[in-house]
Amino acid sequence: MSQVIVYDSPDRSVEDVTNDIRSKFPSVEVLKVAPRRMHLRAPREVFLDLCKFMKDDLSFEHNSCVTPVDYMDHFTVVYHISSWTNHIMAEVQVDLPRDDPTVDSITPLWGGANWHEREAYDLMGVVFKGHPDLRRIMLPEEFRFHPLRKDFTVGRRV
């Protein structure tokens, strides 16, 4: 019988964790720090390294969600990554140009991101480099559009 992994009190404070990120990645912008919350914006070049650092050194164990947002002139992919050990949920925003919506996949780090990235590709057309199986998930393979994009209109109220 193995032991139960217990997360009763946070090991490190959110300011402490943020300072680690600030010193390691000067190009990452810290938007806001609140109790149990951390909001970051990362350039897509350092994003994968940031995630590796967060996972291996800052004990962010869980990827909650991958949300692409279409702002017409660019895409923003929002990642919600949680650390149960430190009781922090981090929000990492990555801006992508509209004509080249490509970003590194985090599925090799957190398996839980697998279907979220497939969904983001399916509905928004964001391509995740290094994803093991980037296929459509909700819509049929032969579908030619990415319907959650803002320029996709069906001509009537849906």
């Binding site: 992994i5 164990e61 998930i137 849906v158």
Partner: protein, 362 residues
């Protein structure tokens, strides 16, 4: 492909998958060597649809994400919208929400127990748990006027206060249910075929479960003490005294045990919240349009971590609303649980997940 290997489609119409989804399994003899869940049969474009609705119009739509636990989705939507609007529900409304959410959790778990009962061949457990569930549906019906899609939470509070003598009724129901829960448990735990079909089946250890993004009772059954009601408390869960139910085996039986124990803890929370609820207003007025910005909220749904991310452009309709469904991720993590087990174990492993396709496909 050797002749003794074959792919089998279990679904989209199959007695074990509650809802429309398909589980493709590759078999060698009777042993599963590869598995692939396929979803999308119920994809309604919820996230696109809500971009064309005002904030208050989305409240009843959030109910329809899952008919089994509609109130927790309703509540999550209102909680996220409150963050976006920058308002906070009054203290009494928070207590009411906690009490009602836990009633919803019991109802959801009883629906799951019903499904597990039929999947594993015990029709008595189905009829009994559906009968017990009706007790709680009556309570929720008395509160909100609906049996399943309650439309009860509002942005800024709840719709109405408890009806007359509600605390008395709830306590009576809970007393009665506590007795009947023991019956339900003995029906399962002393059932030799049930134990043979669940103990040691569908094992997954805590580290793998964490990496694959599992949450909720399935995660806690793998020996990880992870519950957002404790790790990231919302409403008034910080003040509630309850245990987080865990189990270390990580098999189907452990997942069943965790959910049964959770019903007991939920009853404790309902009693506390009912007794400690202060008097006062139950709703504040929400403005029509929120300021520009975004908000995120995650709560402990009966099935795991559910999250909503909302972006506002300052108009009366959300610019983007993303839903993270716990089942969506739990289902994506199911192939490693199935590998190496027999095809007859599939209903046990997948049935105990509490599948709900409404929230998985959205």
């Amino acid at each position: 492909m050797p002749s003794d290997e074959m792919w089998i489609n279990m679904g989209p119409q199959h007695p074990f998958n509650h809802g429309l989804w398909n589980l493709r399994v590759k078999l060698k003899g009777e042993t599963i060597t590869q598995a692939e869940p396929i979803i999308g049969y119920l994809h309604r474009g919820w996230e696109k649809m809500v971009e064309n609705r005002t904030y208050s119009q989305i409240v009843p739509l959030a109910d329809r994400l899952c008919y089994g636990s509609s109130l927790s989705w309703n509540h999550l939507y209102c909680l996220t919208a409150e963050k976006l609007f920058g308002i906070e529900a009054p203290e009494r409304a928070k207590y009411i929400r906690v009490a009602v959410l836990e009633l919803q959790r019991i109802t959801s778990h009883l629906t799951w127990l019903m499904a597990v009962g039929t999947d594993l061949g015990s029709y008595t457990i189905m009829t009994w748990s559906i009968r017990e569930r009706e007790l709680f549906l009556d309570l929720l019906c008395k509160l909100s006027g609906a049996r399943m899609t309650y439309n009860y939470c509002r942005i800024g509070g709840v719709r109405n206060d408890f009806p007359e003598n509600y605390e008395r009724d709830v306590n009576r129901t809970l007393d009665e249910f506590e007795r009947r829960l023991r019956d339900l448990e003995s029906l399962m735990d002393e059932n030799e075929p049930f134990l043979m079909r669940t103990v040691g089946i569908g094992k997954m250890d805590g580290k793998t479960a964490m990496n694959l993004g599992l949450t909720g009772p399935i995660m806690r059954a793998s020996g990880v003490d992870m519950d957002l009601r404790r790790l990231d408390p919302y409403e008034v869960y910080e003040d509630m005294k309850f245990e987080i139910c865990t189990h270390t085996d990580g098999d189907v039986y452990a997942r069943y045990r965790v959910r049964m124990d959770e019903m007991r803890e939920s009853m404790k929370i309902v009693r506390q919240a009912m007794a400690e609820a202060p008097s006062g207003p139950i709703r504040v007025k929400a403005p029509r349009c929120p300021p520009k910005g975004n908000a995120v909220c995650h709560v402990e749904d009966p099935r795991g971590e559910s999250l909503m991310y909302m972006v506002s452009d300052g108009t009366e309709r959300p610019y983007r609303l993303k839903v993270r469904s716990p089942n969506f991720v739990n289902l994506s993590a199911s192939p490693p649980m199935l590998l190496g087990f027999k095809i007859s174990d599939v209903p046990a492993i997948m049935g105990v997940m509490d599948m709900c396709i409404g929230e998985t496909d959205r």
